[in-house]
Structures are given as C-alpha cells and as structure tokens.
Amino acid sequence: MSDTALGWDRVRGLGSKLTTPLHPDDYLSLLNPLWSTRELRGRVEQVVPETDDAATLVIRPGWGWRYDHRPGQYVGIGVQVAGRFQWRSYSVSSPPRRRGRTISITVRAMPEGLLSAHLVRGLAPGTIVRLALPEGEFVLPDPPPARLLFLVAGSGVTPVMAMLRTLDRRGTMPDVVLHYSSPTPERMIFRDELAALARKHAGLTLHEQHTDRDGMLDLADLDRLCPDWRERDTWACGPGPMLDAVAAHYDAAGVEDRLRLERFSLALDGQGGEGGTITFRNSGKQVVADGATTVLEAGEQAGVGMPYGCRMGICHTCTLTLVSGTVRDLRNGTELGQPNEQVQTCVTAAAGDCTLDV
C-alpha cells in the first residue's frame, strides 16, 4: 500500500471518532456512492450491446477494488431488483490493468434468467451495483504455455476473451486454437473482435461452429480440427453437457491433466433438494440432515455454537450467512440459495449440500 493510501486510512480512522458507531465512509457515500470501503460497489458506466441478447457492462468500481484480477476470473455482482439485491457471478471480459478504472463483464440474457435479462436490458448507466472481488481458478498462467486450445460455446467465450485480450495487450500471443460454438453468427459475442485478433496474430487460429447449421461439435472432429489437441493445454467453458462430453473425451484419451473446465452453474443433483450435508465453515464441522431438520437443529446436533433466539422465525437472532448451496424456508417452501444470502437458520432446512459461515 502506498504512503498516500496509508495516510488516507489514518485520516479515516480519526474520522471515525466523529462518526462512531458509523464509519466516515457512511457519510462520504452520501456525496458519492463509490466513496465507501464498507462494501465493494461499482457504478455502471456503459451498457454496450454485443448481440440481440447479450451486452457488456462497463463498471467503475469504488474504493477497495483491486484491478489485478487474473484473466479468466469471475466477479460477483449484486443488483437491486424490486428492492432486493440479487447476486450472480460473471467472468470479467476486460484484461487486468494495474491502472485501470473500469472492468467489463459480458452477460447473455437467459430465457428463464430474470436477473440476466435485467442486466442486459434493464440496467441504466449510473446504477450502483455491489461487487465481490474476482475469484476462480480458470485462469491463464503467466507466462502462458506455448500451445493452447480453447473450447468454448455461447457466453462461455467471456473468460477466454479476457485471456485473449491479455495475450494481445502483452504482445505474447502463443500458438492458440480457439473453437467457438454458437447457434448462429449473429449470436456470437465478440465475433468481430475475435476475427480482428485472428487477422492480427498469426498464432491465433479461429474455428467458428454455427450449431443451427452445422450441429454440435463432435469431439471426434478434434483430430481433424486440431490434430495436436492432446499436447495442448486446454480451457473449456460452456453449457454443462458440453463440458461433460469434453471431460469424458479427455479422460478417455488419458490427457485429463491438460484440461481446465469452467461451469456456469451447478446442475441440481436430482435429490429433490431435500436434506443434505451441512458444512459449518469456521468450525469445519459437518452434519447430514434431512429435509425436515432445521439448519439450527442440525448445527446444534453437530455441536456448533449456533446463535438462536425465538426459534420461530420472528426475532432473527439466528440469522447466518449461507456461503453456498441451497436451503428451503420451511414456512413457505421458498428456496434460498444465492451466494452470501442471509438465512434464518431456525426456519430453514438443507436442500442439497450447503455451507454456512459459522
């Protein structure tokens, strides 16, 4: 941290004597919503349409953001819809820049995805969103391997785009084959930019597959499209079935070490969402609970010091952060499963495996 930043921190520390129990940032953010380190925030600067159903959001992060994400990582974004913050994760499509001022994420409106549709069509520039720092291991190593293969479909192109832009910006484009599937040319996000990159870099080979016309990629064709695929470090990103097929293909060839996958979403495990293993993150304890046992009871059985109050859903003393997984509200059957959602443990039960921050 630089001296200025340290000094600034000290000033705010002194300021908190004036604002206790609040933080100076709670007042500063009245002037500019980005002037707060209490939570990571960002302001939507631009919404750039990419295709009919996809758009790139250019976001200016507020205080506390670090621009040194690794190409391929994703960020959490929280948007208020009907008064409620909904969280999703999207790959960052902009390359990391130490002196950056904005980040970009590219979102496709999914047919049943209310939030993605809102992000693509309903978000006005100037909207304040919440952010979570970049995460994910689906990243480009530095320096990059000499030969790479990217297998992407649909909006799975976004993390790969961040990697390609990084290679382009650094002028270190190695031998890269990109196989990109999309129903039609019009639906291809970044089509023009990719074509331009392929023209610019002799090392970059681009295969487009328009699945409405040509059908899905048959992995047997890899031998023809990219004969040395077994020797290439491979990044695959796209819908679940495609990734399953790719994983099986690499397994069969005995080269699964070369493959890295990024899944957009975990499919429901088909248990009907009733019960599951509850993990308590801080204590490291685990307990298997059925769909009728509340998270609170399960935690107590496991010997975790669970906070509790009325045990009837009224006082909110028992509220904890659900780190991952899904729980069901036993009062009305609602499923709560957003990352870092606050849940009342006394009236919720596990719907599949889940992890709580306690």
Binding site: R311, I314, T317
Partner: protein, 403 residues
Amino acid sequence: MAISDVKEYTHLSEEDVEQLGRELDAIRADVEESRGAADAAYINRMITVQRSLAAAGRVTLLVGAHARRGSRPAWVAGTAMLGLAKILENMEIGHNVMHGQWDWMNDPEIHSSNWEWDTAQPAEQWKHSHNYVHHQFTNVLGHDNDIGYGVLRMAREQRWHPLNLGQPVYNALLAGLFQWGVALHDLDLDAIRKGRKDPQEMKRQLRQIVRKGRNQILKDYVVYPALSGRGWKGTLKANATANLSRNLWSYMIIFCGHFPDGAMHFTEEELEDETRAEWYLRQMLGSANFEGGPVLHIASGNLGYQIEHHLFPDLPSNRYAEISVRVRALCEKYDLPYTTGPLARQYGQALRTILKLSLPNSMTAPDTPEPPSPPVERGRRADAERPTRRTETGAWSRSRTAS
C-alpha cells in the same frame, strides 16, 4: 392470569383463536409478498435524511461555535437537527433494522446482523434483551424484563416493596438517562445482585458496554467540543441537549407501548401450552397504540403501531399503517379490544400507573377491572402443536466473543 382466563378472550373458542391466527398469517403473507422497490427506497431515503441531518447539525454547531461571539440561531438549529437525527436513528432506523425488518433486501449495509446504532447499548445485547426476551415473552410477569425495566413496579400483580415509594424519582431518572438504562438492561442487574449471573459473561458484556459507551461519550463530550475551540461549552451543551431530548422522547414512546390502560399482563403458566395463534393474541392484548400523523409515527419509529409491531416485529415499519387497518377490522370481527388513544392520554395513563403503584395495592384502586371469570379448561396440547422454545435466555450471547 393465563391467556385463557382473560375476559376479552374467553368468548373465543379454540377454533376462533386458530382462525384469528390464520387471518393474521395471511396479513403477514400479503405484506411479505408485496415488499418491493418502494419499501427499499423508503428506508434508504430515511437513512439519507437521517445522516444528512446529523452531518448538518454537527457542522452547524461547529460553525456557530467558531463564530466570533457564538451564534444563538446556529446553536438552536444545530441542536434541533442533531436531536432529530438521533431520534430517527434510534427509533425508525436502528430499532427496526435490528428487528430484521429490512433483511429481505439482502443489503449487507442495512441488515440486522451487523447494524450498530447511535446509543450506548451494544446492538448484540439489544437484540437479545429486546428481540428475544421482550418480544417473545411480551408482558409475561417474571419473563419480560421490559415491565418496569427492573426499576419500576408496573403491574398490580408485582409484590409491593417500600422501595417502590421512590418510583416518581426513579421514573424521572430513567427518562433522563434512558440510553444508559437501556445500556445496562441486558446485563440483568437483578441476576447479578442475586449472584445468578455467569461472571465471565458479565465481564464480556461489561467490556462491550464500556467500549461502546466510551466511544459515544468521547464523540459527544470530548471530540466535538474540542473541535469547537472557544465555543466548546456551547457544543457540549448542544450535544447533551440532543442526547437528553432523544432519551426523553424514546422513553415516552416506549412507555406508551405496554403500560397504558388496556394492555394486559400475563403469567408464566400461559407460556406452557401457547400455540402460535395464542402468541399472536397475547401480543394484541398486551400492546397499546397511539394516534398521530405520519410525522409523529416516523419520529416514534412507527411504534404508535405497537400492536402491529408486536404481531409482525420483522415486517417493514412503513407498512404498519396499512396493516393496522386490517388488524383493527379483525379486532372488531372477533370482538377483541384494540387499545389506542392520543399520545398524551396514553402516556398520562402510564405515568399515573407509575405513581399509583408506588403505593401498596390496598391504598389504590385498580384502573382496569380485575380479571374475573373462572379459568376455562382448554386441554393440553401435544408437543407437536407447540412452538419450540427455549427458556434459558443467556446462551445466545455467551456463544460470541466480546469483539
């Protein structure tokens, strides 16, 4: 008296009570369903207004203090803004946020789990003593510590002690020092006196209170006066005045919640078999509203809708007005009392009770008719019909550290 013995209640059959419970559940479901952008905008606006008032008040006072001969108008305006900011923060924002009324927004900055309010009591202790002890055991003698805050005798059922003769004085002290009374509330001085308090837990709570209270005192009585230069005395007085106004105001509003005539007390036998519907009924019969315009309701944290707040402590406060219309209709339908009146009358009744109960029962007449009718046999309930409850009240706070 158990709830089944309450006169207003005995005309209801068990099925009536359960039906009433279902109708109240339906109100809750409607409001939960319709929470949305307008509600979120309301609380965000309220917080913006409150913080702007606080900042403007502090700045006005500082500017006034540095004016060459001290500025009287600046002092008055600054003090008024600061006092109002403190009242809004405690009543409409802090109290309600800590109930979880805004948790549905999934906004980490407006959430019951981490809200800290501008008063001496640490939020964690408040959530235990208020959300849990007071709201679950509302008006149950021996359980609800809010009946007189362990200082005042507020029910004829409580045994008289010669010390009660001092009630008018204790009451005045409690009103003026309300935030400090509240700060010590969860410590449970009674338990400490009787040696029943876990010493480690007591130390942990005291550390929390000292840390929070020290910051509060430093801010109002050291830091801001120090920044005021030669006008430090004016700033000190302004801050003391703002704190005192907040204390008197919150004390009065809170005493209007359960102590006017018509709000009933209950005994612990009642807790044994209580269903959710009966819990609702106890909340309705044990609480009292007061009437007023929108500004009064906001300044009192919408606790003029005390009945609605006790039925639905975690529904957004800006909805209590509309909920009250439906609750009132239900009271008429089931022929139940709905206690309300002008603020002055409601507080007057509470004050009269404080003064009156400083004397033994034999020297005073009750203001509400004695509960008469013989107990009605209501039959025991199976375990499955009962809400699961805990009677040991300290475990929650013990599970946490002092930080």
